[in-house]
């Protein structure tokens, strides 16, 4: 084949690919095509892969539960907003009926725009920036709480923690990542804390830090110098690890490390890397209720698919990703069609009581936001995250102050 023919055939192939029609509604669609948009590479890669585990086990569990066939279409958004946008377009082009994603607030916002523009429902599994559901979109839904809800629940759980353990810490230092998520949490704390008079502590210093900082010596030195009773932290994963080690290096042992709602301290990598040092850290995040029947179903499926892994390490990621797909499948069953508008209406009317995450039934308000999401207090014991609050779902009793606490 000479070059001319080669070039011509490439051009033909390219044109054929470009001309592939879009939006053709398949008559009598038997299955629901869910486009998964997750960061499987880049700095959020680890967490994205964790979410993917929740996605991978969903079709099987949902088939048993609802008799609905779910087909996953996976895409990697590479922890980048631009890629998120083009991947979303691509998935819709290839026939995705509904999109689920994307862990990162920036990427989720971009995908939301595409979804709204194309009239395809988009269910956010995990992303906390409030703006995503404040744009007046009609096709965007979120099963995850906003940072405001997250914070409100988280702070109230802190109050419960102190009550249960009969402690009255007076001062805290607040350290947070300086990114979209961290900033919205910081803003929230600034607004809420003064009004929550039942909480006994005051924040003596606020220290924002760069999420990609390699070295947090200065930040920890500063935090330690303000001599607080405990450390309040909003972090991501890698920085949580660095912070914890820096605390040991600087011989700083406050009453405890508590997060009002952020990733990091309950993730597998945190335990793997820090070993015993990970013990006693507390995170208040939405979690699954280990006693719910759906949780146990999912756990079984998880164990089957990931024999060497343990679900508690992926509780939040797997839980919300699964529930997002569940919402889509449940709506599909009720709507009896995958036509986007009808599907969206069906999602809007969702009321799922049989769920795995702690909280009321999954119901969306007018903005597409779930409102009755609750958080649980998760404390690390023996390299495992355990539910310690609320008492009704607890697997263990909370420990505060931590052993090793030295009043400086």
């Amino acid at each position: 084949m000479d070059r001319r023919t080669f070039n011509r055939s490439i051009a033909l192939a390219g044109t054929a690919a470009a001309l592939s029609p879009f939006g053709i509604v398949r008559a009598q669609q038997q299955k629901l095509r869910v486009g998964m948009l997750l960061p499987r590479s880049g700095y959020l890669g680890f967490i994205g892969q964790s979410c993917q585990k929740g996605a991978d086990l969903a079709p099987g569990v949902i088939r048993d539960m609802l008799g609905v066939e779910v087909e996953l279409m996976n895409a990697d958004i590479e922890s980048s907003v631009d890629t998120a946008r083009t991947r979303a377009e691509r998935l819709i082009q290839e026939g995705a009926n509904v999109l689920v994603g994307a862990f990162d607030s920036g990427a989720s916002a971009a995908i939301a725009q595409v979804a709204e523009q194309r009239g395809v429902p988009f269910i956010v599994n995990i992303a906390a920036a409030p703006q995503i559901t404040e744009q007046g979109y009609k096709y965007v839904y979120r099963v995850f709480p906003t940072s405001i809800d997250l914070l409100r629940n988280g702070l109230s759980l802190i109050g419960d923690l102190f009550q249960t353990t009969n402690t009255v810490p007076r001062t805290a230092v607040f350290m947070h990542v300086n990114d979209t998520f961290g900033q919205s949490m910081a803003k929230g704390i600034g607004a809420m804390l003064p009004r929550l008079t039942q909480l006994p502590f005051k924040i003596v210093d606020t220290i924002p830090y760069d999420p990609t900082a390699k070295d947090l010596t200065v930040e920890v030195s500063k935090a330690r110098a303000s001599n607080p009773d405990f450390l309040l932290i909003v972090s991501r994963l890698n920085d949580a690890i660095v912070l914890r080690r820096e605390m040991v290096k600087q011989r700083w042992n406050p009453m405890g490390i508590i997060s009002p709602g952020s990733p990091g301290m309950y993730e597998e990598q945190f335990f793997k890397t820090l070993g015993k040092l990970s013990d006693y850290c507390i995170t208040n995040v939405p979690w699954y209720n280990p006693k719910q029947p759906l949780t146990q179903r999912v756990e079984k499926a998880f164990a089957k698919q990931n024999p060497k892994d343990q679900m508690p390490y992926h509780a939040l990621n797997v839980g919300f990703t699964f529930e997002a797909i569940l919402v889509a499948a449940d709506a599909f069953k009720r709507a009896k069609t995958a036509e986007p508008k009808a599907l969206s209406e069906a999602i809007r009317a969702t009321g799922i009581k049989d769920r795995m995450m702690i909280g009321g039934p999954i119901r969306f308000n007018a903005k597409g936001q779930v409102e009755e999401q609750m958080s649980a207090g998760i404390q690390n014991f023996n390299l495992k995250p355990r539910v310690v609050l609320p008492a009704s779902a607890a697997e263990a009793k909370p420990v505060f102050p931590v052993p090793g606490y030295r009043k400086a």
Partner: protein, 322 residues
């Protein structure tokens, strides 16, 4: 009509008619290609014409985007007015950087690093500007997407595509005109031998500053487009060095200093990246990083075997004058 002009008009006609045949995904990719082609053309004015390597062009995209975005966010002022502020600020910044550089005789790698420093400084700086959203970003309200509202620059993706096409065509014409004008000759003289040019009475400082001003002004416009197309601005993404690199890869691969190089380069690079993603997904080789390794290798091949860019070699083959 000469062959090159006929060819260009044919290409323009093709790109104008294209949307009739393609779906929204390809449309979004093409819009991105045109965006990069336009920005690359803008960058090329500074590099190809005035010989100054800027590795921090994301500065202008970002400042332009935030300027127009902020006006819209706080005062509801549309992009047609906002673009003036964007251009003004970017030209001021560009001239400041240029002035500092030439006044203090900074060139070559030092100049490139100066541009990086300014972009990085601004990136971290904007992360701390609360009223522009900080790291949480600025979200612009999208009123509607169905009808073509040119005044507020709101509408379906098709509108954005045609706007970008028009901008790219205009940039091309502008650069062609510049190249053949007196400015073009002075720039060539300065590029070839600055001392000799100075000796002949060419005020190299003035002409270099002019190139920087034009380049930053053009890039500012792409920033405004960015703001109203993507509608969310994050300092981490818009000022990031990877964006600066994204802008200059097209012209370097396509051919610095040529007119068509930036456009060809942007098309090649973007389509390669997207094509690779699709091919890998189809093959099931979904390993993170694989695509970009490929991308890096292709870049390596191009720079080693076609150091002056793809377009000069291609143009010779096609019998065209670059």
């Amino acid at each position: 009509m000469s062959r090159p002009v006929a060819g260009l008009l044919a290409l323009l006609a093709l790109l104008t008619a294209f949307p009739l045949f393609i779906g929204p995904y390809v449309l979004s990719v093409l819009t991105l290609v045109l965006f990069l082609a336009y920005s690359g053309q803008a960058w090329n004015v500074m590099m190809g014409f005035a010989g100054q390597l800027s590795l921090g062009h994301s500065l202008y995209v970002g400042v332009g985007a935030y300027a127009a975005g902020a006006l819209f966010f706080y005062y509801g002022i549309g992009p047609w007015a906002g673009v003036w502020l964007a251009v003004l600020l970017c030209v001021a910044l560009g001239l400041a950087i240029g002035f500092l550089a030439f006044r203090f005789r900074i060139s070559g790698v030092y100049f490139a690093l100066l541009t990086i420093a300014f972009a990085e400084f601004t990136r971290v700086g904007f992360d701390h500007i609360g009223w522009l959203g900080g790291p949480a970003g600025m979200f612009l309200r999208v009123a509607q997407r169905d009808t073509w509202d040119f005044a507020n620059f709101r509408g379906p993706p098709l509108m954005y595509y045609y706007t970008m096409l028009a901008l790219t065509a205009a940039a091309f014409i502008l650069c062609a005109w510049l190249m053949r004008s007196r400015a073009g000759y002075y720039w060539q003289a300065i590029r070839e031998n600055e001392e000799a040019a100075e000796a002949l009475g060419v005020n190299s400082f003035y002409w270099k500053m002019l190139a920087i001003a034009i380049s930053s002004a053009m890039t500012a416009v792409s920033g405004v487009f960015f703001a109203f197309y993507y509608n969310n601005l994050f300092p981490e993404q818009i000022f990031h060095i990877s964006r600066s690199i994204e802008i200059l890869i097209g012209p370097i691969v396509g051919g610095i200093g040529t007119l068509f190089g930036p456009i060809l380069g942007a098309a090649m690079v973007t389509l390669l990246a997207e094509g690779l993603s699709d091919a890998l997904m189809a093959l099931g080789w979904d390993i993170p990083g694989f695509k970009r390794v490929f991308y890096g290798v292709v870049l390596l091949m191009v720079i080693i075997f076609l150091p002056r860019g793809v377009w000069p070699a291609l143009a010779r083959r096609l019998g065209l004058h670059a």
